[in-house]
Structures are given as structure tokens and as C-alpha cells.
């Protein structure tokens, strides 16, 4: 079988892999190939509410990373075309005394990163969002939070990278990953490819691909189920934890997290709970019709933080596996391209190295 050779191979074409591919494609003369077992958006990146969410990303350094990504989206909006990135502001409702104490702690934590978090009273929050339930005690609010159109973002990354000369191979699953004298050999369903550098950004599937080289990527799965309404009158104007309304009037709602492996079914119990929570939050939703439900499987690093950078025992092998890929793809793409081409990134990423898991319990 003929072997194709590249400078770098990106495994995974979700929002994280495509963000990296796009940034790498700006490097003149760098020949890259991005491989995916499906088509962009067929996995986690296509099943999302696509918040670009910052204000409750603790610890504050993780908040800083999320903020850097949100800022990078403003530049990307100019660079790659309209991805419908909008800073709507974000609201985290408070229903109990305990949540109120937590909100005060959050405000203090985020102030270390200069991330504005306002603690609003019931009156203030109802002024901002009159359709929210009067049963809430208050909310935290930040103008930094927003959302993006995930389909447009992914298509723009893909298209612009293609224009810049990046190569792609879709519907092509990775069957083996081996070390060679000069780099790595990737065996797929449809061919064999070699490259000096490999970037593993395959989300949920990174763990099993890492095993080809005995790299342990400690992640688990987290299913989220979403309800989709018909287009309706403008009901909410900000991202509110659990829901957002799209520009076409559709409301997306979801609060669930379940570790059920790769099972992408929707289940009635969770959807009923989702409907109840949504109506408790925005009572007017009770008469709005649901047209669809969907579910997606998030990848969740075992300590909740991104796993990012070169693997120390495997030179020129890089990983980028994270929860909140939509929020983080902009900064992870930029940082990875810098790391791969210059050996360091302008935003400090050392804290996210996979090395941090060394010596921790096997089940961590």
C-alpha cells in the first residue's frame, strides 16, 4: 500500500481538531492531513448548545483560558467569516441560600482573573430577563459569556483550512498508530500515512487511540440531552445556564449529565426532568411546543480540566482533549499551532499537560 507523507497529522475533525487544523494551515509550507472516522459535526461538536461560556469556569486560571478563547473568537469572526459569535451575556440563576454563598465565592475567585461577575438581586435579574421565574433569589451575570453558531464555526474552520491547503480524509477511522524512526505512522481504513508530528484531538475516542502508544488519557463520557422548541417569540436574551434562544426563535434546553458510555439515545425520564427545569426557570415555556430532542456525548477529563500539549515520552506527539470544546477551540487551536511550530505557546498552557496525571490513582 502506498504511504502518503505529511509534516503533521491531526486525528479528529471536531471543533478542537478543526481549530488546530485551521491555525496550522496558516503556516506556509506545512503539509497537514486531518483524519476523522466520520464527518465534521457527526459527533460531540454537532450536538451542542454552543455557548462560549466563561464566568463560572473555576479555578480562575481556567476562567482566564476561557476568556482568552472568547477574545480569540472576536478575531476569528474577522478572519474566517461570520461564525455568529455574539456576546449576549450569561446568567447563572440562584434558587437557594447555598447557591447564593457559592455565587459570592465565585465572584471572588473570578475577580483574580479580572472576569466581571455581577451578583444580581431578584429585581435586577427580572429587569434583565422579565420572563425568568420570580421564584429565583437572584443570579450571577457576566457580559463576557455568549454563543456561536457551531455549524458555521466548523464549516468556516474547515473551508478556510482547505483554501489554505490543508488536506482532509473523512469517513476514515484510525486502526493503528505506531512510532517510526522519523515520527509516526497512522494506519486507517483507507490508507497508511506518515508524519513527523501527530496531534491527537479525537475527543471521546482519544483515549483508545492513545492506547496504541501506551498513553493513558484519563477521560470519561458525559451524555447531555437537549430539547428543541419550535421558533417562538423572543423569551430570553442571554445564555441562561441550561438554555439559550437562537436568532431564529428556537429555544435549546438541557441540564443533564450522565456517564453512560457511547449511548446517544434520548430517554423520557431525562427529557421530562429537562422540561420541568426549563418551565421552572422560564414559566412561559410551558405552552411552547417541542419539535425535537437530541443528545450528545461530551468527553470529560477526569479532573475536569483540558489535557493539552506534547507527551513527554513521545516526542512530537501532542494531545488536545477537553470538555467545553466550543468555548476553547479558538485558544487551543492557536496555542497548538504555536507549540507545534515553535515549541512554545504565547498563552501559558503548562498546567494542562497530561503529565499532571502521573502518579495519581489509576482510576483518577
Amino acid at each position: 500500500m502506498k504511504v502518503e507523507t505529511y509534516d503533521a497529522i491531526v486525528i479528529g475533525a471536531g471543533v478542537v481538531g478543526l481549530g488546530i487544523t485551521y491555525e496550522l494551515s496558516k503556516q506556509q509550507g506545512l503539509k497537514t492531513l486531518t483524519i476523522d472516522q466520520g464527518y465534521p459535526m457527526s459527533g460531540t461538536s454537532g450536538a451542542t448548545q454552543a455557548w462560549i461560556w466563561v464566568h463560572s469556569k473555576t479555578p480562575y486560571k481556567y476562567g482566564q483560558l476561557s476568556l482568552a478563547s472568547a477574545n480569540r473568537y472576536q478575531e476569528l469572526q474577522e478572519e474566517i467569516g461570520d461564525i455568529e459569535y455574539i456576546r449576549s451575556g450569561g446568567i447563572a440563576p440562584i434558587f437557594s441560600k447555598q447557591e447564593l454563598y457559592d455565587a459570592k465565592a465565585l465572584q471572588l475567585e473570578m475577580s483574580k482573573a479580572n472576569i466581571p461577575v455581577d451578583l444580581l438581586s431578584r429585581e435586577e435579574i427580572l429587569k434583565l430577563e422579565p420572563n425568568l421565574s420570580p421564584n429565583l433569589l437572584g443570579a450571577t451575570y457576566s457580559p463576557i459569556d455568549g454563543h456561536v453558531n457551531p455549524f458555521k464555526l466548523i464549516q468556516r474552520y474547515h473551508l478556510q483550512a482547505k483554501i489554505n491547503g490543508a488536506h482532509f480524509s473523512f469517513y476514515n477511522g484510525v486502526r493503528a498508530l505506531e512510532k517510526t524512526e522519523v515520527g509516526y505512522k497512522v494506519t486507517t481504513n483507507r490508507g497508511v500515512y506518515e508524519a513527523e508530528k501527530v496531534i491527537l484531538s479525537a475527543g471521546l475516542w482519544s483515549k483508545s487511540i492513545g492506547e496504541f502508544l501506551n498513553i493513558r488519557i484519563p477521560t470519561h463520557t458525559s451524555r447531555g440531552q437537549i430539547l428543541v422548541t419550535e421558533p417562538t417569540e423572543p423569551l430570553i436574551h442571554h445564555v441562561i445556564i441550561g438554555m439559550r434562544q437562537l436568532s431564529n426563535g428556537i429555544v435549546l434546553m438541557g441540564f443533564s449529565k450522565e456517564d453512560v458510555g457511547y449511548d446517544r439515545r434520548t430517554t423520557m425520564d431525562v427529557l421530562q426532568d429537562t422540561a420541568e427545569k426549563s418551565v421552572n426557570l422560564v414559566p412561559k415555556l410551558k405552552d411552547v411546543k417541542i419539535v425535537r430532542s437530541f443528545s450528545g456525548i461530551r468527553v470529560m477529563p477526569n479532573d475536569g480540566l483540558p489535557i493539552f500539549g506534547e507527551v513527554s515520552e513521545q516526542k512530537n506527539l501532542y494531545v488536545a482533549v477537553t470538555h467545553s470544546g466550543m468555548t476553547l477551540s479558538a485558544i487551543l487551536g492557536k496555542s497548538m499551532a504555536e507549540l507545534v511550530t515553535t515549541g512554545e505557546s504565547s498563552f501559558p498552557m503548562e498546567a494542562y499537560s497530561i503529565e499532571r496525571f502521573k502518579g495519581r490513582e489509576e482510576n483518577q
Partner: protein
């Protein structure tokens, strides 16, 4: 009328040309088309457009239509208000 202006997805007003563009960018299944163009994401949830869109896909990619994967159907079958999902909602409604 130009063939490529024929509407396939009535809910989202997508023409054959719109779907062809998604195909040219690499979409090979109905779900790919859906995520790229919103075909099938409207009120009917692909009940009207699925067969027509799949015929075009099969034709463009030169594979028999029966070899293409189905789209994933999800609840609800018909649009229903949120209150119907909530326990007791029938009675209070």
C-alpha cells in the same frame, strides 16, 4: 424552472443547489446535509424531505439509495408543548 432551484426542504426553504453545495463540501449522508444546511431540522423533522434529499445524495455519490444510512428519528413524533412532558401537565394544562 432551473432544476437546482427546486425546493427540497420546505421548512427551511432549501433548494437542490443548497444541498449540492453541502455535498461538494464532503457531506455523504442525510445527517451531514442536515448539520451543514439545516435540511430536515424544521417543523416536519425530515418527514417530508428525507427521501428526496437521499435520492439526490445517492445520485451524486453514485451509490444505491438503499446503501445510505437512515436519519436518526427522535421524540416527539409530533410537536407537543413542554407542559405535556411534565407530570400532571395534562390536567393543569
Amino acid at each position: 424552472m432551473e432544476a437546482n432551484q427546486v425546493i427540497v426542504c420546505h421548512c427551511e426553504e432549501l433548494t437542490v443547489a443548497d444541498l449540492k453545495m453541502a455535498f461538494e463540501h464532503g457531506a455523504r449522508t442525510f445527517d451531514d446535509l442536515k448539520r451543514m444546511s439545516r435540511c430536515g431540522m424544521g417543523h416536519c423533522q425530515a418527514k417530508y424531505c428525507f427521501d428526496a434529499a437521499n435520492d439526490h445524495l445517492a445520485n451524486w455519490s453514485k451509490v444505491p439509495v438503499e446503501c445510505l444510512p437512515n436519519t436518526r428519528h427522535r421524540m416527539p413524533i409530533r410537536p407537543v408543548p413542554l407542559k405535556v412532558f411534565i407530570e400532571g401537565g395534562f390536567h393543569e394544562g
